[in-house]
Amino acid sequence: MADNGRKAETVTLTMDGQEVTVPRGTSLLHAAESIGTEVPHYCYHPGLSAPAQCRICLVEVEGAPKLQPSCVTMAAEGQVVHTDSPAAKRMRQGVLEFYLVNHPLDCPICDMSGECMLQDYVFDEGREKGRGREPKRVFGRDDFGGDVLYYGDRCVMCTRCVRFMDEVARDSRLTVVERGSRAVIDTFFDRGLEGASFAGNVVDICPVGALVSKDFLHKARAWDLDHTPSICPNCSHGCNIELHTRDNLVQRLKPRENQEVNGHWMCDYGRANYEWMNRPGRLEAPAVGRGSDRRAADWREALELLFASLSAAEGDVALVGSATCSNEALAGLVALGEEMSGGEAGRVFRSPRAADEVPLPGFPLLVRRRDLVPNSDGAELLGFERAGNDDGQGGLEHAAEHGGVVIVLGDELVDQGEEFGANASLFVYLGTFDTAAAANADFVLPITTFAEEEGSFVNAQGRVQRFQQGLRPPESARPAWLVLGALVAALRGEETPGSAPEAFARLADAHPAFEGLTWEAVGDRGAALIAEAVHG
């Protein structure tokens, strides 16, 4: 906002009797925000242009003949602004009443109910009872294609969705047709939003329940969902997201604002791919023994046996990592490999790759990357080499026939047969699902997915980003950093890392690329790695 060459300049104004100093060029809406006052707004969205057409953000500016739209009125020196004066309140109440003239008030069946800005504002300052006597106009609903449904009756005509498609997606597929009370949002002919890569964002920015997700339709109420800050695991861009969970199941993914990474947006591919986090049939208890000798064990027994086997094991070590694992888990695997072989251990990972990247034209930082896994860059930084083809298959010939120690972390080995690891003197499989290729494993240890643990990923920009635990892991699955950390600690004779921050601290000590980073410094918004360590 303050990039007009006069950056240092600030203005001081009086807002609701409170003096506030803001950079020149700040809108009154943001100035009010800085003192903790939220001015209602529909058409204004920080990621879009401000047409000042919803008329609900009007505030009283002393000296101005009429109320001013706070989203486009810039703060000026000495201004005296009232957001809560009787005139401003009366006006907001009036505007809200107009919005409700044709609004169906179908909150009980509306998916937006509970997070709807119309509901909030009317509850805060609207009239207690409606005065309308005329019948409301009825449009019904329209399938916009893709994942988007449009309920015209609920629409407040803020045109955020139209402007998102025009300005950010740069793919004009929505428009306003008709005028006055007959105005609706519509698509051009039958083209709709089908095939658009970022259209899901119009559901997020819709302030009311006019645009809803087909996938989420009637699935859960907004107030039942728990929100967990996380990182999108579906490509290596690592958009900041929230996991919305209920009953220990992920119900939907929503973008979390981070101007350095994804702005306010995320892509439809990432948004749609969450069902795998809820996949049932997980590995639930550690098991020891090959083939018919396989038996369940508790963690203490399994780790003690594994520790004894690792201490006695001979031969080279082959490590198969996975770019779906956190940095902490991969660093634990590297440390274990080093402890075992006294230096270099072969490290590979595989990653499915899309044919091309999908950028968001209006916000060029955001790109759906080729790597369809969250931590391929972290894996490469930690010394894992990319193997296999673009489907994430093949490339494990060495590990499959390796005669020494084979440790597989997180890779489900879907393309590998039962003969995988048959020659290995010791084969350890740490995974979330049992697989045919784990038949020869001496140890099968259940680990958690990223949604069930705390940790960090490195995204394609070379940015370390933390994610939090949103789901309860099944039975006795444990985070991989804890399992591997305990083994490394036992081999080295030191303390087991007790938490993800501790595991991260050890990772930062051991790997120069992460040097100087702390868990706190990474924070909720991530932190860039030092540039020269990041390749590509």
Binding site: C107, P108, I109, S113, R141, L217, H218, K219, R221, W223, D224
Partner: protein, 166 residues
């Protein structure tokens, strides 16, 4: 503050008479013998008259075409203090939102009637009903079909002519 104790003085032993109290009690007994006040009901032949505000097991109202009135808005499981309502919403073939699963655990229910009070479409009601005996515990989780089959009168949580009790 210490509790103040008032010492009651008993009348002296020779000056006490229970005659008056005994006669008073006996007169009541004889009065009832001549003109009895009936309290006991010949249940189940005779049924008690329940208050209009009696809150018993639930009943789901239905539309004329047999569909439940419930729109699966999720307010009753939200407001329920005993957490006894399980609801999974969905869409029927006509595009209406309806409950795919609607279960009330009548054992957990505390019959507060808040589900009825909160319902925006007057679908779920507590009822004027008390005969709930079953042969198994599992029968006390009432599913949607059972709630729709219930035919006892529903509770009137407030007087419609004076909804605010004024």
């Amino acid at each position: 503050m210490a509790i103040s104790v008032k010492v009651m003085r008993r009348p002296e032993a020779g000056r006490m008479s229970y005659m008056r109290a005994t006669l008073k009690g006996m007169s009541l007994t004889f009065r009832h013998m001549v003109r009895p006040t009936k309290v006991t009901l010949e249940y189940p032949e005779e049924q008690p008259e329940l208050s209009p505000r009696w809150r018993g097991t639930h009943r789901m109202e239905v539309h004329a075409d047999g569909r439940p009135k419930c729109v699966a808005c999720g307010l009753c499981p939200t407001v329920c203090p005993a957490n006894c309502i399980r609801l999974v919403g969905g869409e029927d073939d006509q595009g209406n939102r309806y409950p795919i699963v609607y279960e009330i655990d009548e054992f957990r229910c505390i019959f507060c009637g808040m589900c009825q009070e909160v319902c925006p479409v007057e679908a779920i009601h507590v009822g004027q009903h008390f005969e709930n005996a079953e042969y198994g515990r599992d029968r006390f989780v009432y599913d949607l079909d059972r709630l729709m089959e219930q035919d006892h009168p529903v509770t009137q949580l407030w007087d419609p002519s004076d909804p605010r009790s004024e």
